[in-house]
Structures are given as C-alpha cells and as structure tokens.
C-alpha cells in the first residue's frame, strides 16, 4: 500500500538548515492501523505531511498504492490528496459556515460529483458516523466528539485508500477519545488503512502497530496486540 525509502527532509532556518528526517524507511500494508509516535521535534509531523502530500521530501522515494509520488505540482497534489487520502485533524477543521452535510460533501465537490449525488453520499457517511439527524447543524452547534465524527465522515466521503489522522483525539476528553477510537477501529475492521500521529500511549496501544521516531530516524517498529476501545465506552 505504502512504501517509503530513505526519506530525507531538512528545513532552512536562517543560514543553517535543520535536518528533520534522516533516512526514514517504512512500508505499510493494506488494512494496517499504524500509530506514529515521538516527542515533539522527532519528525513525526513532517513525516505525516509528506505522506499527506502537504509537503515534499528532499530525497528518497514514496510510492502510494503503486503510484510514485514525485514532482508534485500544486494541482497534481490536490488531485492525489482528493483521490487517495482522507484527513482527520486534531482541531477538526470543519468549515464553520457550512452545515454538517455540506462539510462532508466538500471533497466530493472537488471531485466533480454532482450536487444531488454528493449530498446523498454525504448523507450516507453521516449516517455511518451516527449523525444523520445533525446534518443541517452548523459546527458550532455540535460537541467536540460530534465535530470529529463529522470530520471522519468527511474524510471517508471520497472513499480514500488511506486515512491520515493527526492527533485525532488531541482536543477531546478521555471518554470522547475512546468513542472516536472505537469508531476508527471499526473503520479499520472494515478494511481501511489508517495512519495516525499521536503522543498518547493509550491511544497508540489501540492501533495494531507502533512506530517510534526520534531525531528523524525510526528507533522502534513493532506490532502490538490491539487494545479495543469498546471496553472503555
């Protein structure tokens, strides 16, 4: 599903440059649920940005579902993101003047899906996250957990190959976090490949594989026995 070989990335800071990723190798198979962990500055966000095509590596190769991701123009990156990736953000990033169903339908709009069809699809996904009754509500009328569920529905709407989650529970209380993780686990059970960045051990332990980064290199990559979130709910 995803192969990364010898990935390097550095940022210029004034005259000097900061070497953030120093040769990362990573392979993820379809159906995996991977947690990327590390302290701040370890390069985990940069890695996620590159995988999410929000940033480009200096050297190394990145193949997603058999497609080499290289020489990205902004337009090409936008198309790939829209087609292959679903994003779940820490701060949800819903568009505040659009109601739930419009937010979910947005990626489909950029795919050129007709309005009627995309609203139907959005309704379907909202139902999946259990919020079909809230479809006409604006984000400010929803709780944190509900917002994240709308965001997950939005990430799912375009039927992506890979779900990328950046601290998906970072802005939620423990109980809501577990609800969301339970939901993400269900998605994984259905076969979605999921990659998430987190620094919470208990959230990471709910994945099937944990990768630890320190100073731009992978120091540990192990499969773990998944802790089911449903037992806490």
């Amino acid at each position: 599903m995803l192969q990364i070989k010898d990935l390097h990335k550095s940022y210029a800071i004034g005259d000097s440059s900061l070497h953030v990723l120093k040769g990362v190798n990573l392979a993820v198979n379809t159906g995996e649920m991977v947690a990327i962990m590390g302290s701040s500055g370890s390069g985990k966000s940069t890695l996620l940005n590159i995988i999410g095509m929000l940033d480009e590596a200096d050297s190394g190769s990145y193949v997603l579902d058999g497609l080499a991701i290289e020489n990205l123009t902004e337009k090409k990156a936008a198309v790939y993101r829209n087609k292959f990736l679903g994003f779940i953000f820490q701060s949800f990033n819903l568009i505040n003047y659009k109601n739930a169903i419009e937010n979910v339908a947005l990626p489909l709009y950029y795919q050129g899906v007709k309005r009627k069809e995309r609203l139907e699809l959005a309704k379907f996904h909202l139902k999946k996250v259990g919020l079909e009754k809230w479809s006409e509500h604006l984000p400010k009328e929803l709780s944190g957990g509900q917002k994240q569920r709308v965001a997950i529905a939005r990430a799912l709407a375009a039927n992506p190959k890979l779900l990328l989650a950046d601290e998906p529970t970072g802005a939620l209380d423990t109980k809501t976090s577990h609800e969301i993780m339970d939901f993400i686990q269900h998605l994984n059970d259905e076969g979605k490949t999921i990659l998430m960045v987190t620094h919470e051990e208990d959230i990471a332990s709910m994945c099937k594989r944990i990768i630890r980064l320190r100073d731009g290199v992978i120091i540990e990559d192990k499969e773990v026995k998944q802790v089911r979130a449903s037992q806490y709910v």
Partner: protein, 409 residues
C-alpha cells in the same frame, strides 16, 4: 462552464460576512453614485448649452449684408450691399462640395386674414432647402417645393400658431389666406422647436415674393448648412472662405468688419464642445478617483478576508481544492461585491437624478440623465474594477500552503 457549486460557495461566503461585504461594497456604491450623479449633471449642463441651437441645424451658416464702413478700390464707404439671385447661384456653385443645404431668404412683416380672423406675422420667402436648415417639421400637407419656386406659385406654409389664430376648424389645407391683400393657397402647417415666434411664421416660395414685391431678384439673406463631413476647424475655415469670396465679389475692403456678415454656428459649437469636454473630463477624473478609492477599499477588505480564512483555504486545499478554484473563489467574490454594489450606486444615482432633475432647470441643468451606453460601460468598468480589487488577495490566497490546516493556533 457555469459552475453553480462555485457560486454557491461564493454566496455562502458573502452571506457569512454580511457586514464586511456591505462595508466594502459601500465605497464602490458611493463611488458609482457620485459618478452617475456628476455625469448626469454634466449631461444636464450640456443639454442646456445645446438647447440654444435646437431651433436651427447646428451646422448652419447665415450670411447677411449691410453697409460698408471703409472706402475700397475707388468705392465710397457707406455703400449698401444687396444680395441678388446671381449671388446665391455663385455661392451654390462655388462651394458645391461643402454645402449640404442652401436657401435664400426674404423676410417681411405682413398682415394676414382669413374671413374674419386676422393677425400680423413674419413672412419668409425661401427655397425648399430652408426646411432642413431651420429644422421645420411638417405637421400637415407639405413644404415649399422646387416647382413652387420655378412656377412662382402663390402658396403658403403656415406655422402652427398662425393656423390656430386664423382657422377655427381643422379644415386648413387648400384654403386661401390673404397676405397683404394677395390670396395664397395654404399647402402645409408646420411645427418648430425654436419657440412660439418661430411658429408665427409663413413660408412662401422666394420667386413668388420677388415677383410680388418689386419684380426684382433681390434677396435679404443666404442661409446654408455645411457638409457634415467637415470637421470643426474646417467648418470655421469654410465660413471665413465664404466671407472672403463675397467681399472680393462685392469689392469690400478685406479689413471692413461690415458689409458682409457671416454667422457661423461652428464657432459657437466649438466653444461649447470644448467646455463640455472640460466638464466631462473633470467628472471622469473625479468619478475615476472615487472608484479607485473604492477598489482599494474592496481589495483591502478582501486581503483581510483571505488572511482570516487562511485556515479554511488550507483545509480546502488539503481536501483537494486546486489552486485555480481558490483563485476563482476570491476573484469572483470581489467581482460580485463590486458589481452588485456598483449597480446599487447606479440605480440610486439615476433615481436621484430622476427625482431632482425637473427642479434643476433654473440652474441651467436640463434633463440630467445617463445614457444606456454609459451604463453598459459602467458595468464593464465595474467587472474590471472587481477583478483588479480581487487580484492581489486571490494571489495571496493561492499561495497559502495546505499545511496550515494541520497547524493549531
């Protein structure tokens, strides 16, 4: 292709920031209102000036004669210059290519009667061309024609007010009126925009008057209009040429300011046109300046909008919005706000002009209004203005990296 989705996005965004959109539109609306108002006023002034010419064709030249004041080539000063038919023919042939219409004219005051009704009117004996030079509008019947002049027929074309005075019913054409004791057959009734005095006139063939009053070939005045092909300065030069040719023909000193008098409308017209140009320029300048201020205002607010929506734009990009979509979104929002606001200004401005237009006539502003062409032009300017106002904000927006979506503030 017309993209409903894109427009829906834009309307949503405008709707969300109603106050801001209103404020940014306000400057533009005010700019256009001011422009329309000033432009209308300018047009009103223009109308007043041109009004003075509405009586006659505004490319006319009137030629009259008087006594000379200087001795020249053995001829004494104080000699009376009298035009005759041959002078009319001379002018007509000499300047054939520059003359549009030409007529000779004899003017008299006459007493006219029809049965018991009578009155005193101006009597003008003319050639058929006179109709076009004087802008006479035929209401009933016909004007003097060539065969009238050739046959010296006793026919008369009477003004609307003459007809009102003399005829009690509508049975006018074909009846005979008595002019200074001689019966003339009425063949036409006319209007003239030049006012009541111009409608208390009776026209007859020039040859008839010459036969009746002295059986000679004398004429009082020659009126002509110059070809529309002549430019303003050429028309003025033409007037001077006529004066020179006639002075030479009548042996009048070239420096004599009397003898021949040529009144050329082109001269006055040029002055008025120049003044109108200056007024229009000033108005355009003010209007353009205000519009520029409006554009800067919209642009400013759009930049602020983009800044405020940085995260939203980043999220949209992360979700797969191509840069071109973001540019279109910002640009069209700007164009829409500018155009709608501009139209509000346009409608308000035209409305104000309509409301107060009538009461401004005493200030030399007549029928102030803006033409359809100006409105089309304004629409075009507004769209361009909106695009200019949106250009920098849109460029800024397109440069936002989708990575900002991941950043937490």
């Amino acid at each position: 292709m017309f993209d409903f989705g894109l427009w829906r996005e834009i309307f949503q965004s405008i709707n969300k920031n109603r106050t801001r959109s209103l404020l940014s539109g306000f400057t533009v609306a005010f700019a256009i209102l001011l422009f329309v108002f000033l432009f209308g006023m300018g047009n009103g002034l223009n109308n007043t000036f041109t009004e003075g010419f509405v009586d006659d064709a505004n490319n006319s030249i009137f030629i009259r004669s008087s006594k000379t004041t200087k001795a020249y080539k053995g001829l004494q000063a104080g000699r009376r210059i009298q035009f005759k038919n041959k002078d009319f023919v001379f002018l007509k042939n000499k300047f054939k290519d520059k003359i549009e219409y030409i007529t000779a004219r004899i003017t008299k005051n006459v007493a006219v009667s029809y049965y018991n009704q009578q009155g005193n009117y101006t009597y003008r004996a003319v050639h058929p061309d006179h109709q076009f030079i004087e802008k006479t509008l035929i209401n009933k019947g016909r004007y003097i024609n060539k065969s009238d002049v050739k046959n010296k027929t006793k026919v008369a074309v009477i003004g609307r007010l003459v007809a009102d005075d003399l005829f009690l019913d509508n049975n006018i054409i074909g009846n005979y009126i008595n002019i200074n004791g001689i019966p003339y057959k009425v063949v036409g009734v006319f209007f003239d925009a030049g006012g009541d005095n111009e409608e208390r006139v009776i026209y007859t063939p020039i040859s008839t008057a010459q036969m009746i009053y002295g059986n000679n070939t004398k004429i009082d005045q020659i009126n002509l209009t110059y070809s529309k092909k002549l430019k303003a300065n050429q028309a003025i030069a033409f007037g001077t040429k006529i004066e020179k040719a006639l002075k030479k023909r009548f042996k009048i000193a070239p420096t004599d300011r009397r003898g021949i008098y040529v009144r050329n409308f082109a001269k006055g017209l040029r002055r008025i046109n120049l003044m109108n140009t200056v007024i229009n320029f000033v108005i355009l300048f003010i209007g353009f300046g205000t519009l520029m201020a409006g554009i800067v205002g919209v642009s400013n607010i759009m930049i602020f909008t983009v800044k405020e929506r940085t995260k939203e734009i980043g999220v949209r990009k992360a979700l797969g919005a191509p840069p071109s979509f973001i540019v279109k979104m910002i640009l069209l929002e700007s164009v829409l706000v500018t155009t709608i606001a501009g139209y509000v200004g346009l409608v308000l401005g035209s409305g104000i002009l309509k409301l107060i237009g009538k009461s401004l006539e005493k200030y030399f502003i007549k029928n102030p209004s803006v033409s359809f062409n100006v409105i089309i032009f304004a629409t075009f300017v507004l769209i361009v203005a909106g695009a200019i106002a949106g250009y920098f904000p849109a460029k800024k927006a397109s440069k936002i990296k989708p990575i900002v979506a991941l950043r937490d503030e």
